[in-house]
């Protein structure tokens, strides 16, 4: 399965991936319409490293082989697809955030309404279909490919 991998040497910390993620999952038809509304969305990818940090990199779901979030979910809302993607069923999620407690990457978080969790599903759950963050990264600091 293709996953998103980080080349931190090339990350400028521009946060473009976060905006592209919000846009992809917003249902909006144009990026500029996010203007003034970013508070309504929570990106599923997060850039680490503040303004003064020499290091930056983006973190989102690693789709771990033995995903501890799937094993820990109290509601059976998290599962793995046959090809290995970790997915969340919002209808089943009760928002206890046990997944937040166990994810070693800090890559799962409350959604905008705070009532259920959200995570990267590689843009398979929106109209984009392929990771929008990777597509628009100006520096190849995140890539979408097969790796061991």
């Amino acid at each position: 399965m293709k996953r998103i991998f980080v080349n931190e040497e090339w990350c400028l910390g521009c946060h473009m991936c976060e905006y592209e993620c919000m846009f992809a999952n917003s249902g909006l038809d144009e990026m500029f319409k996010l203007k003034g509304r970013t508070g309504e969305f929570v990106p599923r990818i997060q850039v680490e490293g503040g303004e003064k940090s020499p290091v930056h990199f983006a973190v989102n779901c690693r789709h771990c082989t033995g995903a501890i979030c799937v094993q820990s979910c109290i509601a059976g809302a998290l599962s793995r697809t046959d090809d290995g993607m970790v997915v969340i069923d919002k209808q089943k999620c009760v928002g206890c955030f046990t997944c937040v407690l166990v994810c070693p990457f800090g890559a799962i978080m409350p959604g905008p309404d705070g009532k259920s969790a959200q995570k990267c599903m590689l843009c398979t759950d929106n109209l984009i279909g392929e990771p929008n963050c990777v597509k628009h990264c100006p520096n190849n600091a995140i890539v979408y490919e097969e790796r061991d």
Partner: protein
């Protein structure tokens, strides 16, 4: 190979999934006295409050048993285990033979002897779907509810029914609410919040005597009228099957890190099992859902001839009430680094250069980065702990470790 599993909750499901990672064709039989398709037990409060539908309480999809080729005997109770014949006797008179057996019988409510309790009509525990159904039938907006026990189960019940009943009063013998996961200061934050929702607390007290729809408390002598009683004082592990079969039990069924009991070919996992807790370096019952899954999976893999071990279990909890969230892990000892501001409450506990535990209330994003430091007993000298004190982040790890985490398949 014939696998038999007594129980049909988290540890049982995990065991099935563990077995099937190795053995796709062995015969699996599940025995459960509950008639229901496996469901997430902690979801009962969410169903009562209308956060999820009954259908969505299912822990695995409808086709789970079929897809995994499991023979599910639901609504029948396992009465005894005969380790010499390697068979389980059922309440309907049947027998199920096994090559490998998992005992995942969970726990049951502990109801202490209280005078007059037998005469109380509407009294409930709050652990199962049947408990939920029974309680739901008697809920109505004017009814007064008395909850004995301000622990995780009692207070989740409170949240579940708060908008569907009149007054709720919670009584607990402890001096604070949620004593198993919170210190006094943290508990006070959550108590204030619940009181803001109209819940009344009486602490340092317990029921002396029930008379119909009235209880008299022991220490304060107060009399409290109620229509519905919920007893959520604690739980006891269901150890009897293994004990009666000659297995070693303490508070729970004693298991090694492979989930083996003292009886050959019998494994145990979940709330009934007493396994290794790495936060205290000894065995104890860790009755929490993720642990039931971890143990069940380890048991299943070993039962199927694979190799798995659970050596890094710790107590950890994520629980919320009315929009507040509490995430906790392991032990609260050593040096405490705290950040408290209004309803935000954060405590990290450091001992021998390790993060040994934490309490996070209402500031919990990315908490799993802390949890991994605790579980893996990471030497804080190898990470930038100053960064971590401020917020959990992977930037605190050295470059090489970060590359392992983010530039490779994990």
């Amino acid at each position: 190979m014939k696998y038999t599993i007594i129980g049909n909750s988290t540890a049982a499901v995990a065991c099935i999934e563990g077995i099937r990672t190795i053995d796709k064709s062995g015969e699996i039989t599940v025995i459960s006295d509950e008639k229901h398709h496996c469901y997430g037990r902690p979801t009962i409060s969410y169903c009562l409050m209308g956060a999820i539908s009954r259908e969505n309480m299912k822990y695995r999809p409808d086709d789970f048993y079929v897809k995994n080729n499991v023979n599910a005997l639901l609504g029948v109770r396992a009465l005894s285990i005969d380790p010499s014949e390697k068979c389980v006797t059922l309440s309907d008179g049947g027998k199920v033979f096994y090559d490998k057996l998992l005992v995942a019988t969970g726990s049951r409510p502990f109801v202490p002897a209280m005078e007059g309790l037998d005469g109380v009509k509407n009294k409930f525990s709050f652990m199962t779907m049947d408990d939920m159904d029974g309680l739901e039938k008697v809920l109505s907006p004017k009814k007064k509810v008395l909850v004995i026990g301000a622990g995780l189960i009692g207070l989740k019940c409170v949240e579940g029914i708060a908008d569907r009943v009149g007054q709720i009063t919670v009584v607990d013998l402890a001096d604070r609410i949620l004593p198993s996961i919170l210190d006094a200061e943290g508990a006070a934050i959550i108590q204030r919040q619940l009181e803001g929702k109209g819940v009344k607390f009486i602490l340092n007290d317990c029921a002396a005597k029930f008379e119909g729809k009235k209880v008299t408390l022991k220490n304060s002598g107060q009399e409290i009228p109620f229509d519905i009683l919920v007893v959520a004082v604690g739980v006891r592990a269901n150890t009897e099957l293994v004990k009666n079969a000659g297995g070693e039990v303490n508070r729970g069924i004693i298991v090694d890190t492979h989930m083996r009991t003292s009886i050959p070919d019998i494994y145990s996992a979940g709330d009934c099992a007493e396994g290794y807790d790495s936060s205290i370096g000894a065995n104890r019952v860790l009755a929490l859902l993720p642990n039931a899954y971890f143990q069940g999976r380890v048991a299943g893999i070993n039962m199927a001839g694979g190799e798995a071990e659970q050596t890094n279990a710790i107590p950890m909890n994520a629980i919320g009430f009315f929009g507040s969230h509490i995430l906790t892990a392991a032990v609260y000892e050593g040096e405490c680094i705290s950040h408290i501001q209004g309803d935000i409450y954060k405590k990290l506990f450091v001992k021998d250069s390790r993060l040994v535990g934490f309490i996070l209330i209402n500031d919990f994003l990315r908490a799993g980065i802390y949890t991994q430091l605790v579980r893996d007993k990471v030497d804080l000298g190898t990470v930038d702990f100053e960064l971590l004190k401020n917020a959990p982040q992977l930037l605190a790890y050295p470059l090489g470790v970060r590359k392992q985490k983010l530039a490779k398949k994990v």
